[in-house]
Symmetry: C2
Subunit: 641 residues, 2 copies
């Protein structure tokens, strides 16, 4: 099979509209906002100056519509969560410290007050949070516990004598750590702590704790340390907070899902402590979705810079020629940048679906647990894949720009440093993928609430003779494909979309069934449950990645299907081919091991990826320009227009 | 197959001696030097202060034996190149800006004067270079040309009227760029420029050009710009240098391989311009070897930090248990760190062989072209693999340390930022791998000199009916294995070393033969040579990587074979198994495609890698402590003893 050269007349604006999607107007507004000279980065600032500069820029952002989209209309907001995240994604084309600073204030701190608090908290705080009059922190992670939030050790003990909670940090391992806004600007913190009343613990809840007064003085009993210089995001003032018996009014418990009466009686609408905990955490899913979107935007910016440079940079002459060759004309260079570009498109479409689902779930205020579970699973899967993709792509772009990529002025180094933490914050990627696998294995929501991570897995294996796997989030469009086992027919065209999807979906189904069987066998043999789980951990993670791969490719295929016929659709279809075949190529060992590819077919896929790189290369520039990144934000001399 | 748990009594000091190898005394001396408090990093310095601080530290280094090892005894040196590089590798456990600053001064600038200059240059400059009285630059790369050194555009035109060369930068694309020591401290530069005399160009030569006077004033006609902030290595003052008709005495041509008489007549001991160029470049191979070694050291430091943390950090409880699990007990965590640790050992042993070969070639002052070619090929292959390994491993260690890994105080972030450029400086890795493939394809050294990269390939394909592939640098010990085609026998034990080596060697041989056949076919069909070359580029790079993989595994196997029997040897043998099987696992798609692995066998390899991770996990700590990194250099709170 050979892929022919493409002779196409491309409408870049149309691709951009496709990417911009439902909240295109919000994205355009965010682009306009970022063009303001106030957002031009300043060089040579000290650490404190950087932080203050970012705070000033955040004040400017607070006056735009961006943050308002996250807030209820009663408090000056616009209440359009899908738009808020679309705007956030666009803002990620700009300074990422500014993005994260705002994300902490409006998304995490504001989101906690909104989603875990009740009306009295909203009335008292939301307007000030929106305007940045009350800068706040999201104090969840501790030095000793990040991913395992249920094991946090900060305590909030109710004292009925004074109608107060007493917040305490038992030791340095329980300090709140890496907390944005803590080291310099935060006045109040949403502190996650074990709620104790009448000598009984009711699990982790969130409490509003003042940490500085209006003059910036640190409150008595509060100790704040500076996390100091970080790999990147140095405009954000991360720090550590400890509490030495700090007293706060009972009212400061964010009590949407659990409350304490004056006499200390605890009550909650959700009886199971475990389910309550996951419900609270689930209410914060938008943070994870925002980071996934920001990662995709950062990859786009790096690709724009690398493709512009690769188009322009020439090195080595062709034989019998005096013309030097543009580095993007080399297969090896195409192989680095073009599959990354195709995957970035795929992730954009998957992200748009994810944001759409979030928007539906939140605006319909549904109590549909299944929909929420689906959303959380999709968010966890996509966050892991998007952020790893950003880390890898930005690294590859750095190398593709050679020594020039190492200079700060060319922006790729900064993107690399700033986004590096994305893979571990808002949920460590490995932990998130385990969560995905666990949820896929269950589908037994009623019982789910009571089980811990390994317990859930054991439950599934012990009680379900035949593991029924429904594809979480699979759309009907592709259901028929999932049911079919792809053959190893050498004649099917590799660019047949159904064939591509069926291979990718088969891997998802087969890995999940395999891990379920494996766990069942281990538990039935009554082996140590941790050993059973741990021996299968790589298999679990594989199943989660396979699920993510399938969802992402399906999103790309669906986006192409929705397009009107024409040259632009042909281009997007070829790009989808590249993504599908590069995904299959990367996993071809698995397909060979499971007899879904013959050796000949497997080699043909590599050839097809090469051919697609060659065919798409002339359109690389169009494809990155369609991201719509404002020129004002591309200051890199190697990529200036 | 299952790998049993290991019950071993390990002698860490013995592993360390094995790693320290022939120049253990030099390494120990370098460790002592780095313990001096003068080398404690200072925080919060401005860019210029950082640079000056590094310069002061370099002055301290100049008084140690380290740099002296690179210089001839007549000029105060110790003349022991193998020791010099071993010391450099050890120094890489410390500050990498300091390392690179010294590398520029003594390795690149000093090395150029020594290796391309003649006695009068040595007499005049070497002592001052060694003492840092004459800080210098290695001005090769230009903004427009890095990898393609032959196309540099700076000119040095001889003017017989004044017995001078006139150095000129035609335009900004021909500025010398990324030049260490240029922005602040350099007084003289070894400038690579096209030598023109009597209206004839003789290709690139090196010239000594004063760029600042003794007070630090920039010389007339010289323009210096600052490259500014970089992703890392900010203690090194990189800059851009342009020359506007700067006149230097004829004597300043470094004329070991080509000279100009007073009347402008050019003469050289090497007739072919191309061969002369590659001979000059070859004389600078030690820079590449040094970077390869430094990359391995940086990976070691990151692994020490991540393994200490992974041993200590606990997260999530096992079911029915109150004890949290050390993160290094999770399979997924082991999977990230332990194969990286095994590969780091493999690379250490390969690097030791490389340094040994360099030492032999240089001390024997041999004119053996074949030995030099072998050395350069091995150096190019190992530099590419080592630096990519460092980039990946340090990134993985960052993620393995979670949020803590993102804080500067925990050192991994700095390692990442500083080493990032290693993959593209001292030869872009992709270009180097192409060089490796090209050399492997030829073995026809006499004709080689006259051909460019593609020309060489064409030559091979056109004139050699049967491509004879001798494994460059393969040691006799393993030759028998190369000749054997490994079967797909399911019964061979996966830990059989001969089986492992034969698989890895088969891949090397087969990829190389395949690409040779493919190129031959293309050229015989008279296709456009660039197209033929470009279509096979990924195949060429694969062949080079396969060659590197084989050399590296062979070095590990040989190191284990040399050990005395005992528990420590058993451990190292298991570690070699892990490296071999992880290498085969990573490339198992290729082996499946070429019918060297059955699907069942392929899956068994994955199981074996998991088992080996489990078996080696209790020894992870011993294995990183054996690197012998001084505790004074591990300031990371998460890894302090």
């Amino acid at each position: 099979m050979t892929i022919d050269a493409l002779d196409l007349d491309i409408d870049v604006a149309r691709i951009r509209r496709l990417l911009d999607g439902r909240w295109a107007d919000v994205r355009d507004q965010a682009r306009e906002t970022l063009r303001d000279p106030v957002f031009v980065p300043r060089e040579g600032l000290t650490l404190d100056e950087q932080r203050d500069h970012i705070f000033e820029q955040a004040l400017a952002i607070s006056k735009s519509d961006g943050p308002k989209l996250l807030f209820p209309k009663e408090y000056g907001g616009l209440d359009e969560v899908g738009g808020a995240i679309s705007g956030f994604e666009t803002q990620a084309f700009g300074d990422l410290s500014l993005l994260v600073k705002g994300g902490v204030q409006w998304g995490l701190f504001g989101g906690t007050v909104r989603n875990l608090g009740t009306k009295r908290h909203h009335d008292r705080y939301l307007e000030d949070i929106l305007s940045l009059a009350l800068p706040g922190c999201f104090a969840m992670t501790e030095t000793g516990h990040g991913s395992d939030v249920q094991s946090l050790r900060t305590t909030a003990t109710y004292d009925p004598a004074t109608d107060e909670f007493v917040i305490s940090t038992p030791d340095d391992e329980a300090r709140k750590d890496y907390i944005g806004n803590a080291a310099r600007h935060g006045r109040m913190a949403a502190v996650f702590a074990q709620l104790i009343t009448n000598d009984e613990s009711h699990g982790v809840h969130a409490f509003l704790v003042p940490i500085r007064d209006e003059t910036g003085e640190i409150q008595p009993g509060v100790r704040i340390e500076d996390d100091g210089i970080k790999a990147g995001l140095n405009g954000v003032d991360n720090g550590r907070i400890s509490f030495d018996g700090v007293r706060i009014p009972r009212d400061n418990l964010l009590d949407r899902f659990g409350t304490v009466a004056a006499d200390g009686t605890y009550s909650s609408s959700i009886e199971s402590e475990n389910k309550r905990f996951f419900t609270m955490l689930g209410a914060l899913v938008q943070g994870r979705i925002s980071i996934s979107g920001a990662a995709v935007s950062a990859a786009k910016k790096a690709l724009l810079i690398a493709v512009r440079y690769g188009d322009r940079r020439r090195q080595f002459k062709a034989p019998d020629s005096e013309t030097e060759i543009a580095v993007l004309d080399y297969l090896a260079h195409q192989r680095v940048l073009l599959p990354a570009l195709a995957k970035t498109y795929a992730l954009s479409f998957a992200q748009a679906e994810l944001v759409g689902e979030l928007h539906e779930v939140q605006t319909e205020c549904t109590d549909d647990d299944a929909a929420r579970r689906k959303l959380e699973t999709f968010a966890a899967a996509l966050k892991a894949v998007s952020t790893w993709h950003a880390t890898k792509t930005i690294q590859d772009c750095r190398e593709a720009c050679g020594g020039a990529g190492y200079l700060a002025e060319n922006q790729v180094a900064g993107l690399k440093a700033d986004t590096d933490v994305f893979t571990t914050f808002e949920g460590d990627n490995t932990v998130l993928l385990q969560l995905v696998a666990k949820t896929l294995l269950t589908n037994f929501q009623a019982e789910f609430g009571e089980l811990d991570s390994i317990g859930t897995v054991r439950f599934v294996a012990e009680h379900v003779a035949e593991v029924v796997i429904e594809r979480t989030g699979a759309r009907a469009l592709f259901q028929r494909i999932v049911d079919a086992i792809p053959g190893t027919d050498e004649d099917t065209n590799l660019t047949d979309r159904d064939y591509q999807l069926s291979l990718i979906a088969f891997r998802e189904k087969h890995t999940l069934e395999g891990v379920a069987r494996r766990l069942k066998k281990g538990f039935e043999a009554d082996e140590d449950p941790f050993v059973v789980f741990n021996h299968a951990q790589d298999h679990l993670l594989l199943a989660a990645r396979a699920h993510a791969d399938a969802r992402i490719m399906e999103a790309f295929a669906a986006a192409v299907e929705r397009m009107e016929d024409g040259d632009t659709k042909v281009l997007m279809s070829r790009l989808a081919d590249l993504h599908a075949l590069a995904t299959i190529e990367a996993e071809r060992a698995w397909f060979l091991e499971h007899n879904r590819l013959t050796p000949t077919r497997s080699k043909a896929i590599t050839t097809a990826v090469n051919d697609l790189c060659h065919a798409l290369r002339p359109f690389a520039s169009d494809l990155v320009e369609a991201f719509g990144i404002p020129d004002e934000l591309i200051t890199a001399p190697i990529a200036r227009k």
